[in-house]
């Protein structure tokens, strides 16, 4: 049945996440201003006191939410604490971990689960178009090794990651069907972290350029283990794309967490200023700032629900490809509007680095860009609506 109320059990888990989030937030400005320094230790001083990350799948009763829904809510409230800092918690995985969990074999999951894995897709020439990956993987049957070559840019968490899920083609003539993903651990010869980006936001998170030069990895580090190249258009690419179906909602959830932080900050300032938020009134009986704030809140809520919907479908075992793009497209644009709009309300206070709103606005700007820009998401949605292929609409 339709329900949007959290059980007490789930609520308690999220409250714990939020409490940690507030502790993490104390370091937010530090990380924002120290991207040049060495990556600090993974463990914050207070991290030892954090409750262990609750088990996603644990449900006490039918009243508790499903694991994907809860995973998204955890993500929201970790990022509500701080985008960068939440990633520094030892157990929190990178996008590569999500790919591992979605597409890896049981053995692969077991072997790498405790590593922080980045994901490397984008190349200098391919933008957000994963099917145009030119990095290559050639199987050396004699040594049972894959030989990887290519350059990957914008690898989130790429400096501090223990390893990476990288996409490469095993057969260029096969197009998308030839693209596979590979697990490569740091220290593998031929795998170099070539550069670290300076960015507008999420400065506490390192973004790297990777270069693979005749990098050899064992044959069993092909994610999912399936070496077969399907015929063109037979859907073989879907196995790879499948990994996206929870990463897109997760990225949306990052933004939702940040925009919720910005709204909470703004609400407090409005309260201090004595601005009344009367949801029952008509527009004629509201102040301009109340109206603006309430509309941003509604936009936020709408966006959050699209994320939860995509996750709920996953919990039901139902396909969520369209919905993943819907929530990513929606949130990507919504969090821009929300964080920028909070600054409209806050005025000069909003642009001061004495508080975090300006940082949240900068951090949020990535949501509509990485893991497929808003434009890519709209293409995916439109293809779904029209029942079009990539060739029909691009």
């Amino acid at each position: 049945m339709i329900s949007f109320e959290l059980s007490e059990y789930d609520r308690a888990k999220l409250d714990a996440i939020k409490e940690e989030g507030l502790i993490c937030r104390k370091y937010a400005r530090y990380y924002d201003e120290h991207e040049e320094t060495e990556i600090p230790p993974d463990e914050l001083p207070e991290a030892k006191d954090f409750a262990p990350t609750p088990n996603l799948a644990s449900r006490q009763s039918e009243e508790d939410s499903g694991p994907s829904v809860m995973a998204m809510l955890y993500t929201v409230y970790r990022c509500w604490g701080d985008y960068a800092v939440k990633l520094r918690q030892p157990k929190a995985g990178g996008l590569g971990n999500a790919a591992l969990m979605a597409a890896g074999t049981d053995e692969q999951k077991q072997r790498w689960i405790n590593n922080f894995l980045a994901m490397a897709i984008t190349e200098p020439g391919c933008g957000s178009d994963p099917s145009r990956v030119t990095a290559s993987a050639v199987l050396d049957e004699e040594t049972n090794e894959w030989i990887l070559n290519g350059e990957k840019i914008f690898v989130t968490g790429g400096v501090r990651a223990d390893g990476v899920v990288m996409w490469a083609t095993v057969d260029k003539s096969a197009g998308r069907a030839g693209i596979k993903s590979f697990l490569v651990m740091k220290g593998t010869p031929g795998f170099e972290v070539a550069k670290k980006e300076k960015k507008l936001g999420i400065r506490g998170e390192d973004t790297a350029t990777y270069v693979f030069s005749d990098c050899r990895i064992p044959r069993d580090q092909l994610l999912g283990g399936n070496e077969e190249v399907q015929k063109k258009g037979s859907g073989g690419f879907r196995g790879v794309m499948k990994t996206f179906n929870m990463t897109r909602p997760a990225v949306a959830a990052f933004g939702i967490g940040i925009s919720e932080a910005a709204l909470d900050f703004t609400r407090e300032e409005l309260e201090k200023a004595g601005v009344d938020l009367d949801y029952g009134a008509g527009m004629g009986n509201r102040s301009a700032v109340a109206e603006k704030f309430m509309k941003l809140e509604a936009l936020h809520e709408a966006s959050k629900l699209t994320v939860l919907r995509a996750a709920w479908l996953a919990d039901q075992g139902q396909p969520n490809n369209m919905e993943s793009s819907v929530c990513k497209a929606h949130a990507g644009s919504a969090v821009r509007e929300i964080t920028q709009g909070c600054i409209d309300i806050l005025g000069p206070l909003g642009v001061s680095r004495d508080n975090l709103v300006e940082k949240w606005m900068r951090d949020c700007r990535i949501i509509d860009i990485y893991e497929g820009t808003g434009q890519i998401q709209r293409l995916i949605i439109a293809r779904g609506l029209f029942d079009y292929t990539r060739d029909d609409l691009n």
């Binding site: 049945m1 339709i2 329900s3 949007f4 109320e5 959290l6 059980s7 789930d10 039918e62 009243e63 508790d64 939410s65 499903g66 829904v69 809510l73 009367d278 949801y279 029952g280 009134a281 008509g282 527009m283 004629g284 009986n285 309430m294 509309k295 809140e297 509604a298 936009l299 809520e301 709408a302 966006s303 629900l305 699209t306 939860l308 919907r309 709920w312 479908l313 039901q316 919905e323 819907v326 497209a329 929606h330 434009q375 998401q377 709209r378 293409l379 949605i381 439109a382 609506l385 029209f386 079009y388 029909d392 609409l393």
Partner: protein
């Protein structure tokens, strides 16, 4: 628990109403709009679907299903997918019945519900909207003044559905600093019902009338919920959520109409669906239809659980009002010059969306 799952019953109801919307409502929509009238048998056909009476206990003549605001929201989306004007016509009687169910005294239910839950169409309707710019349902200009044994009502209401035939109106009025609602019989002294239906931009299928209340006297027992008063805020919340449901239906209709159109229509040498400008417009429209719907469901679910739903209903209503209009407006753009003509339904949906967005208190979930 966060859940977007329909019950089996809801699924069945959605299917039935969807069929009705496509088979009966949609084909009637254009003529009803052009002629501002309802076909004689439409109301009875809807009546037999049981939308109004299903959730009324058997003791009061209803079918005894659980009161479910989510179910009504789902049904309204489907009906409005057929046509918003006809959806409002179909659901207007429920506004009165639901108000009694949710907030009425036992006496009020016993007195009025059986008469409104028979086998033939019957109705009381809500009288909430007021004339003048910047109307605010939460601050009615219509006043109720307490007097010995009852209240005196003064003011003007507009956009009252079925002013031509409703037996009762639920008039929302300011009672000192509170908002209260009063049951006013059609033949009450001092009540003047506009002789002709109002003319409005949209929702032309449903007859709506202006009521003048010039010192209408009602008894203590006619105040919704009795002397303690019903939760009129919650009543208005159900109305906001209801109009938002309609907006979801209208917006979805526009998207579903435009998608095949864009795939067929050729301009500049290819199907316009293959142009990013059109494809993105529809992708964004679809996205907003989804987002709107979940806000509506959230509000409906809170109402169903008896929780404070004022914020959630505001969000559903405000967001659906803005985005529903945006989607319908874009629907015209997708069709271009054809969308501006009355040969296609998108201009009708555009008018519906703009009208739904500024009304509060016409229907409820």
């Amino acid at each position: 628990m966060i859940s977007f799952g329909l019950t089996e019953e809801q699924d069945a109801i959605r299917g039935a109403i969807r069929e009705f919307a496509q088979g009966v409502v949609r084909p009637l929509a254009r003529d009803c709009d052009e002629q501002s009238k309802l076909p004689d048998d439409f109301l009875q056909q809807v009546w037999e679907l049981g939308l109004t009476t299903t959730q009324v206990p058997e003791a009061f003549g209803g079918m005894g299903a659980d009161r479910s605001q989510t179910t009504t929201a789902i049904a309204l989306e489907e009906l409005a997918y057929g046509d918003a004007g006809l959806a409002v016509a179909a659901l207007a009687p429920s506004g009165f019945v639901n108000a009694l169910l949710d907030h009425g005294t036992e006496e009020q239910k016993q007195r009025l519900l059986p008469g409104l839950c028979g086998t033939e169409f019957a109705c009381g309707t809500l009288a909430v909207v007021e004339p003048g710019a910047m109307a605010d349902a939460s601050r009615p200009k219509t006043t109720a003044t307490a007097k010995s044994g009852g209240y005196v009502l003064k003011g003007t209401k507009r956009f009252v559905p079925f002013g031509d035939r409703a037996t009762h109106f639920l008039v929302v009025a300011a009672l000192d600093s509170e908002i209260a609602a009063f049951i006013v019989a059609r033949d009450a002294a001092g009540l003047t019902i506009g002789a002709e239906a109002e003319k409005n931009l949209g929702l032309r299928a449903v007859p709506v009338h202006t009521l003048e209340l010039d010192g209408v006297e009602v008894s203590d027992g006619d105040r919704l919920g009795g002397s303690a008063g019903g939760n009129v805020r919650a009543l208005l919340d159900t109305s906001r959520a209801a109009l938002a449901s309609c907006l979801v239906g209208v917006a979805r209709a526009a998207v579903e109409y435009c998608v095949p159109y864009a795939k067929e229509r050729v301009a500049f040498g290819e199907e316009i669906a293959k142009k990013q400008a059109i494809a993105f417009m529809l992708a964004e429209s679809h996205t907003e239809v989804e987002a709107m719907r979940w806000l509506v469901w959230q509000a409906a679910s809170k109402l169903e659980k008896g929780l404070d739903a004022t914020k959630a209903s505001y969000q559903a209503w405000s967001y659906a009002g803005e985005k529903g209009l945006w989607v319908a407006d874009n629907g015209i753009q997708v069709l271009g010059g054809h969308g501006f003509t009355r040969e296609h339904p998108v201009e009708l949906w555009f008018r519906s969306a703009r009208t739904l967005g500024v009304l509060e208190g016409t229907v409820s979930i």
